[in-house]
Structure formats: C-alpha cells, structure tokens
Symmetry: C2
C-alpha cells in the first residue's frame, strides 16, 4: 500500500477501512494508558485519536469499549518446527495467544532436506496470517561441522547459504555460535560482515559466554541473546549492549530469575524482551508463549506497561523492525490485540494487518490447508533395520564390571555433565543398570548413505522397562532412543523409521503410544487437537514406564550433540565431549 493513502485518511479526504472504537491504548512510547480510536487503511494504521470523522459507509467498526489495545506481541527467538505442529496449526495457536510476528529460520527442515525445504516452509508460513520474517539458519549450515562431525548430505553449499541473507523478508542471522569466530571461519566471518553491511540483526547464542569471550562475541556484531540463565549473566550482557531475550520455553524457564534484573537490580527495561526458543504444543496451548511471559512478568512485579513494552516495542527494535512494528501509531502495521485486563492478560481479539483473525480467543482467520507434498515424506531412511547386536558393547576378557562414561541429564538444564559409573558385564557385554537409572542411549544416522550408530549411557530417564525413540532432536534430526531393553530400543528405532519419523513409546516390542511426524520426520500433518491427544497418551505411557520428566522428549532431544551446548552428548559416532571437542570412548580404559 502507498503511504499517501494513509495521509488521505488521516486528513479526512477518504474514509478508513476499519475503526477500532473506544479502547484504552497501552502507549509503549510514552508509558501511558488512555482512551483512543484507531483508524486503519488496508494493512496499516492511519490515525490514532478521536477518529469518528474518518468513518465512511463502508467502514467496519470494531467495538473495543472496556478493552485494552496492546501492540501485537513479537517473538524474538523461536524454533517453530520444535513444536512438531504443521506450520499452519502452529500459526493458529500463536495467533490465538496474541503473538503476531515471528522471525524464523526453519533450520531443522534445512538439515533434513536443504534449501528447498526451508523455502517451502517459509512460503507456507508467510501464507498464514502470522507476520513472518526470515533469519539465515546458521545451524542448518553448521550443525555437526562445528563439532568436527559429518554434516547432513543436504547441507547447502557456502554460496547458497550466504545468499539466504538476500532472501525477501530476511532480517538477519539466527544464532551463529561463537567458536567459528575464534577459529576465523571464512564463511561465518563473511556472513557477519554482509549482515552488518546490510544493517541486519545478528540474533546471538551466547551460551555460557562471559568476560573476554562475551566481549568478543559482541564486538563481532552480535545484537541480541537468549541464553542468559542467571541474573548475573543477564546484567553482564546488558551492560555490554546485548539485548536480552528473556527465555521462557519448555524445559528452559528463565523468566523468574531474569526479571530480577529489572525488579531488583533496577536495570533499564529497554535492554529486555521475551522469547520462547523452544516450546511443546502443550506449553503453547495451555500456558501460551509471549502472553505467558507478559503475565508472569507482571505477577513478578514488572509494571504492566513495561511488560508490554518489552513484548512489543523492545522486540521490534531487537529485530530491526521498529519502523513497521511494535506500537500502535500512525504508519505502522495494524497488528493490534485486545485484552480484557492487563493482569490476567487473556487475549480476546487479534488483528493482523487490519484483519481480525482471533475472536474470543479463537482463530477465525482464513481456513488453512495442512496437506503437504510427497517430497517431504519418507525422509527417515535406514539402510537396514537396527539389530540388538549393533547396539551391544563387548569387552574383551572375563571382567565382571567396567567403568563407562555416562550422560547426566538433570530435569532443569540442557547442560548434561559427564559422569563415570560402574556397569556389570555379562557374557562379554556391558549391561545397563535400570535399578540405578543408568540406561543405554543410542543415536542412529537417518541418512541411509551411511548408517552410523552411536552408543552411550544416560542417567535421568528412569525407565524401568521399554524404550522411547524420536526423530525430534536438534543434532541432525537423527533418530535418538533410550530404553531399559536393547530389544525395545531397536524396535522403537525401527518403528520410528517405519512411520517416517515421530515420537514413540515401546514396551515388549509393542507400541504403547506414538505421535507420527511424517513431514520430514519433524512435523505432524494433523490438527493441533490430534497432536495434543497423542502427546497426552505419550506422556501417560512414558510415566507408566517409570520416567518422571515433565517433558521427556524435550529432554531426550537435547542429549543429542548440538553446537556449543555442553557437556557430554550422544552422536551417531559415539559419545562427544563438547568441552574437549571430540568423540570419547563409552567404556573407560577398555583395554585394561
């Protein structure tokens, strides 16, 4: 639309298309609340004030009497594919929660089927009412390479990867890790340089960085970060100019700790915004995403207008989109949510680009098709079925016990320490120890050209019988499985391959429950209701096997090696110690 049309509406030359009447504006520029009308022409706001005179015979009126008008909420960092929802179903649940803008990279799709899949899903998500911007998926390109391991056969070539920066709607780079800078990686340096030249943003990933390294990561041009987990980390980062995306995701609830920077340490709230990073469909559906963060921040003592600022104006600036988004003022996109009160912050209506897409909290926008083309199916390709003999560890001689490296997986962190435990040996093979919760964990490469199988041990899942497996893990979207019995582990892996990807819970070579993710092994092609139902059944059956994790599959996913997240992780090539930067043997001092 031409801006001059907005001018014509504002001066009363032509009527507005939509008038939102009588709402209380949460003004994020001045930090005030007062009543206004908002006049909209096509997809932008033309006038804010007393706008009665702009009504024509065709003008639609939205009654906002007694409602608060809040700018559409903005996510600053989120991997939509980790919700396992078809992107259309994902957009609906996001919109119902008042989030109207999302930057995305589709990096999981890129690992599984390359640039073609990224483009496909970007187009599909843009086709929904969710305002979608693109970020270069650094992790599609780097995943496993930064660990010195083989990459997906679908990894884009250097120049194709760099060229993504110029895709339409690309606003920057998604979480480039730090180490490639230290190693002076020419492609990553070029990516940074080009992005800065084009004044694009660099959404960082400063996991565990502090002091010199943090300074270096910021000096390179990194503009924001979502990995602060303590208030001290958040303050150190904010002081160095990094914008802090307070993360409140599944298995990553950092908000309670980080808002102390504002409420207790009195750090300027301009430095902060909200993100979810990773969220299960349950989290999205039951708790929400950015709305949930706003609500929690208010409960923890953040001023309600400040909380809204953080979720809108601050976020828009973090994404370099302040000219178009983040407040309800003339010229910006008409992305507006109506809430009944700021404390409960329940989303009543959502308007995106002048179109009402949510009414009474329910999606009422265009019907969205969740059928997908065949090239996205059958992408989990084992060269042969996995046999128990392949996941056995033999030890020479007649030893009764061996010491093994074991991944320790605490409930509240994705950082998984290396512990050393003693395991029994029977008939020359190392056994799991279910009584002490030391279980076998397996990762199988899903690309049939080279089917590698890594074997390790893990503590924390507490399965007393059966096994679980999934293609949902950010390593390379490989198959990861954990279980009490080798037979069930193999059965679960082979079943996952058979259904083309998903989540499965197995006992005695029978499927107890499953969520099929046939689209690239990453996404369901079913409605949200069906996904939630399957998820519920899965949780129940996992818990029946003894596991106590709140989100077992999210825990399992991040035991796969993934960038610079420490410490001991599983890969198709065996255990990997991230701090050492190399594959380590599962059995310690095997030869002795």
């Amino acid at each position: 639309m031409k801006r001059i049309e907005l001018v014509k509406v504002a001066i009363g030359k032509i009527p507005c298309d939509i008038l939102i009447k009588g709402g209380k504006l949460v003004n994020v520029h001045t930090h005030e609340i007062y009543p206004v009308d908002v006049a909209i022409k096509e997809d932008r706001i033309a006038y804010v004030g007393d706008a009665e005179h702009l009504v024509g015979p065709e003008t639609k009126i939205i009654d906002a009497e007694s409602k608060y008008l809040v700018p559409g909420l903005i996510e600053t960092h989120f991997h939509e594919y980790e919700t396992q929802l078809a992107v259309e179903e994902f957009a609906k649940v996001f919109l119902e929660r008042g989030t109207t803008t999302l930057p995305v990279s589709f990096y999981g799709m890129g690992i599984v089927r390359g640039t073609q899949a990224i483009k496909f899903f970007y187009d599909r998500l843009k086709n929904t009412s969710l305002r979608t911007y693109f970020l270069v998926p650094t992790l599609t390109y780097l995943q496993n390479r930064d660990l010195g391991l083989p990459r997906s056969p679908y990894t884009p070539e250097d120049e194709d990867f760099l060229a993504m920066l110029d895709w339409e709607g690309c606003i920057g780079i998604e979480e480039p890790p730090f180490l490639p800078l230290v190693k002076e990686d020419p492609v990553i340096i070029k990516l940074y340089e080009r992005a800065l030249e084009e004044r694009k943003v660099i959404i960082g990933h400063a996991c565990e960085l502090t002091g010199r390294e943090l300074n270096a990561y910021i000096a390179a041009g990194t503009s924001s970060d979502h990995e602060a987990v303590s208030v001290e980390e958040a303050i150190e980062r904010a002081r160095l100019g990094l914008k802090i995306s307070i993360r409140e995701g599944s298995g990553m609830p950092n908000l309670k700790e980080l808002v102390k920077a504002i409420t207790y340490n009195k750090i300027d709230s301009r430095a902060f915004n909200f993100c979810n990073d990773v969220a299960s469909p349950f989290k999205l559906y039951q708790e929400g995403n950015i709305d949930d963060a706003v609500r929690k921040a208010i409960q923890l003592g953040v001023n309600p207008i400040t909380a809204v600022q953080m979720a809108s104006l601050n976020s828009a600036q973090v994404l370099g989109l302040g000219m178009d988004l983040g407040s309800i003022v003339p010229g910006k996109y008409a992305d507006i949510i109506l809430v009944n009160d700021l404390e409960s912050f329940v989303i009543d209506q959502v308007i995106v680009g002048g179109n009402k897409v949510v009414e009474n909290g329910n999606y009422i926008g265009p019907k969205l098709n969740i059928e997908y083309p065949s090239f996205l199916y059958n992408t989990v390709e084992l060269s042969h079925l996995v046999q128990p003999s392949e996941i056995s560890i033999s030890v020479p001689g007649d030893r009764k016990y061996v010491k093994v490296r074991c991944i320790d997986s605490p409930e509240d962190s994705i950082i998984t320490p290396e512990i050393h435990v003693k395991l029994p040996v029977s008939n020359g093979y190392v056994k799991s120890d279910t009584s002490n919760d030391i279980l076998k964990i397996i990762m199988v490469n899903r690309y049939k050209e080279k089917q590698d199988t890594g074997i390790g041990f893990v503590r924390g899942f507490n399965l007393k019988e059966g096994a679980i497996a999934t293609t949902y893990n950010p390593n390379q979207e490989n198959i990861i499985a954990v279980g009490a019995s080798d037979e069930d582990i193999c059965f679960a892996i082979n079943h996952i391959a058979d259904i083309g990807g998903g989540l499965v819970v197995v006992k005695n070579k029978k499927v107890l429950s499953e969520l099929q993710l046939p689209v690239l092994g990453l996404l369901s092609d079913q409605p949200l209701s069906k996904v939630l139902e399957d998820f519920k059944a899965i949780k129940l059956s996992i818990h029946s096997l003894g596991c106590k994790y709140k989100e077992p599959f999210h825990k399992l996913a991040f035991i796969g090696a993934c960038g610079e997240i420490g410490i001991l992780k599983i890969t198709p090539y065996g255990l990997f110690n991230v701090h050492l930067g190399k594959i380590v043997s599962t059995v310690i001092n095997k030869e002795k």
Copy 2:
C-alpha cells in the same frame, strides 16, 4: 576494519591499540555508572571491562582516572552553515563541545550553487574528525517552490535530487515539509517511498502540526521532529510515536519547556533527544550545543544518566545508527568523551574513532585547511546597484496616511504575525515610522538573471538610524535588509553584494561593522576567533543603533519566507502570507 580484529583483541590474541584506563562508565543501556577500562582497536571498541591483559608494547594508554566516560554526543538536527563558520572551524568547535556525530544536508549551499556545492562541502566535512552522515536536503529542492515562488537557478533536477538518497553515508531525508504530501507531490512521495524502502530515517519538521495533520505527517513515515515548542505539542507527538528532538538553538530555546514532559508529566524519556537546529558561533563557543542541552536538562531535574541517554543512545536510534553509535560497548565506534563531573558536564577530552582530538577542552586533532576554491566566491550577483527609488512605495493622490501590512517580529519566536499599521505619506511616498519602530524591510534576489526586489515593513528591530543587511537567510540566501533610512538600506545591500555576502551594519552610508562571508555568501573563510571578534563588533554597533534583539541577524534571517513557518514574511516578490499561501500587497487598499 574487519570485525574479526576486534574478536582477536577481546580474546587476548593480539593487543589493543589504545586502552582508556580507570574511567567511570556512564552505561546508557543499563542506566548505571561503574568503573571500567575500554580497549580500542583501530576505530572501534573491542573490549569493555578489566582490560589490563590486552595491553601490548605498542598500546597507548589514556588515563581516565576520576573521569566519567560518556558516549560521544550526537546532534540530531542542525544546519551547520547557519553558524557562518568554515566547515573545518565548525567541526573544531563542535568537537570541543563533545559532539562527535552530525547528520547534515548543506541545504543552503545547494540553493546557492546546487549539487556540486553540496558534494563539495560534504567531502570537506567528512574530511574532518567529526563523524558526518548525509541527509537529502529537501529544502534545497523545495525552497520557494512550496510557496509557489521561483526557485534558485541551481535547484537540482528531480532525478538528481532523488538520487542523493543513495549517496554514500546518506541516512535519510532532512525536514520535508507537510504540505507537499497533502498536495500529493509526486517527487516528495517518491522520496518518502524510497527512503522507507531503504529503511532510512525521515527527520521531520512538524511546525504547528496537530491532530489530523500531525497524524497524517507521521503516517507518511516521518520518524522524528524538532519543532515542538510547548510540552503539550511534545506529548501529542511522542504519543504518536514521533521521536522528539528537544531544540535549544539560537532564538529557539525550547528545552526548559519541553523537559517538563519528562520531569513533570513522566513521559518515557526514550521518546526524547536533543538538537540545536540553528546556532550562532557565539552560542556554540560560549554555551555549547548538545553538552549545553545535557547540562541544562540536568539542572532542570532530569537524571544525569537519563540526560546522557537522550544525547547518545536515543539520538543514535533516531538516526538509525544504533548499530554503530550511541554507547560504549564492544563493536561500536570508539567515540568517547571524558568529563570531570556530570553536573557541570565540562568536556575534558574527546576521542573519535580511537583518535584523541580534544585535550583539556581544546582541539588537538589534524590541522585543517580553510582555503576554498574560486567557484565558491563571488556568488552574490546583482544586475545593477540598488537605488533608493527602487525601494520606494508611491501612492496615488494626495493622501497623508496609508494603512500597510507589517511583519511583527517578537524576540522569542520565528513565527511573525501580520499586523496592520498606519504610515505617513510624504510627496506621494510611504514613509517608515522609526518612532513607532515600523521599519522598511527589503529582500533582493541574489541571482542576476532576474533581480526582483520585495518591499515591506517590520516591527521589532527598533533601529533609530542606519541599516543592516545580510545574505544569511534561509529563504534563498537572498539579500535581506532592514533600516531606518532608504539610503542606508541601499548602501548596505550594495555593500553586501560587493563583498560577496556577509553581515553588515551601516550608518550614514558608512560601514560600522561587518562579517564577510565570501564563501557562497554563507561562510567565513577566517578562523573562529576572527568570526567571533567581527560578531562582537557587529552586535555592539547594532545595539548602538537602537536594536535590542539578542541575535539580530538570526531574527532578520527568519523574516525571509521559509517553507511553512508562518505568518507574514518578506520575499523578493513582496510580502507573503504563509497561511494564505500568496503574495499580499504592502499597502492595503492602495486604490482607495
């Protein structure tokens, strides 16, 4: 410089070039003050913290013990040519006052000698240590056209004008007026559209706009404004998302009123920054510019850290330069000022891009040449000397008195109302009335192709004898003169033409004092000290003639018609009523 060099410094791989040691950082991100070292590599900051370990044998140490480290101050709107200083002298005085960044358009130079002159001065100013960005000089293009009057023969063609948007270092547009949008001017619409597409800023000029018109101006994409003069205006604009540049210029002291929005109305200070717009060399030298605004804001109750935020971080964001400027953090330009205390805010040292250019408040940077090439001289071209007969107004018949339109010029405003006064007629000619301070005001077109001469009357100068004239006026840099005697007015005008432009005070056909501005009739080619000396003499001699204005030539300048500034103004074609949008007769009902 490559960012990777900063990374190497930060992680301690190579030493820094400069270490600022032991200063107290004013952190504009977190709103805190605490001690740090700052390590610099080439022109950017590599590390902030305890940086002892980054010192190498070649590292220069700057001792900042007991000083505050403040980000280089940023002007958001300023016409540097209106200081009448050679740009090199101007840069020095700006730097000595702690301002390190300036966006410029050189619109006066453009009116006098077109695109060539703009380019010349942009290159010259960039060659100083002042960090210089370019803005498209909308007023070079529009001056007089928006009033329906002839433009300068040097006005750039439409496409040359639009192409300025792509000049290197161009960050946006400088003060496009509102009316061309209402008139749907295709060139101005194109300028807005292209700027928004390239995500550039639109530094607005919302003089007297409110309600519908203000909404329209903002909806078009205007991002900031410096024309608010009351706190109510400032709040209305801030609420609509416009960034408010609080102006504290010569004859435009708006700060005391506007900071009430922060101190009294508690509007979020994020909405505000500082500018000078227009400042005499005296103002710059004696009071300062942005440092003066910071100091005054603190005195008026603004928190000192907030005042610094407004002058740095906020300003950088207004200019779309937040990635490079506005705070002392890794990756940004090393533009840092050292002050002894925040309340007096006296600038001690100034570092720009890692180079110290001010020490003990004095410029110590590279020696700057203020010689200019010949095409910039002799640009005031009268076709013939102006004679008293040309500036007489005859009335038919034998009337003793006539009623005339008179410009009323109050001390504290550039808005000049139309008043009607009775003047005596002698021998068929209308006489001035010095006893009631009704003086003749003349504007002569300086382009010899068509020497038009406009005649009017003005109240406020209070000259009892003599005359003053100047080429300094933003109408078209024409010659403007006011005086008690027609002979002296003509003498002053002809003298100004003779010296190629400047400021002159005349009595009894003798020059009492003058400031020569031979460069385009706009700038001196002498050092600041000589300009100040001449200025002082001029003030004394004007006051000796009876004039009481603080800045008489700044008052005179803005009586020339200039864009949408109301109300009654002088042009070479006679009096112009801006609200009516047309030339009006000086004598009312002449025929009766």
